[in-house]
Symmetry: C2
Subunit: 80 residues, 2 copies
Amino acid sequence: MKAHVWVMPKRTVLDPQGQTIQHALASLGYAAVSDVRQGKFFVLNLDGWSRDEAQAQVEKISKEVLTNLVIEEFRFEIVD
Amino acid sequence: MKAHVWVMPKRTVLDPQGQTIQHALASLGYAAVSDVRQGKFFVLNLDGWSRDEAQAQVEKISKEVLTNLVIEEFRFEIVD
C-alpha cells in the first residue's frame, strides 16, 4: 500500500518560490501563467498496515512530521 | 483553468531527503513506512489558454523550467 501526501503553503502565506517561478515564466513569455504555488509531494511505501490503520497513521505522520502546520496545510490519499 | 505538476526524483536517483524522512519516521516508531520519496508539486493558474494550448504549454514549462530532466521526471494534469 502507498500513501500520497501533498503539503502546500497556506493560502494566506506568501510563497516566494512560487512567485519566483511565476516571474521567470512571465519573462520567458508565458504571461498566461498568472500564479504559481509550490508545495511538496511525498510517496510513502506502507507495509503491514490495514487501510484503516494507514488512514490514521498517515494523518498523524502528515501532521507531526511532514507539515509545518503554522504555515502549511496537507492532504493525503491511501492507494493500493 | 489550473495545471497540477508533479516533479519526482527518477527511480534510479538517490533521494536523500526522502531517506532522511524515512529514518526519522523509523526512529519515531513508524517502522511500517518502508520507503519515502519526496518530490515537488506545483499548482499553476492559467488565464486565456484553451485546454489544448494548456496541455502543450504546460508540457513545455514542465520540461524547460520545473524539471531537471537529468535527475527528475514529471507528470501533469490540466484541471478546470
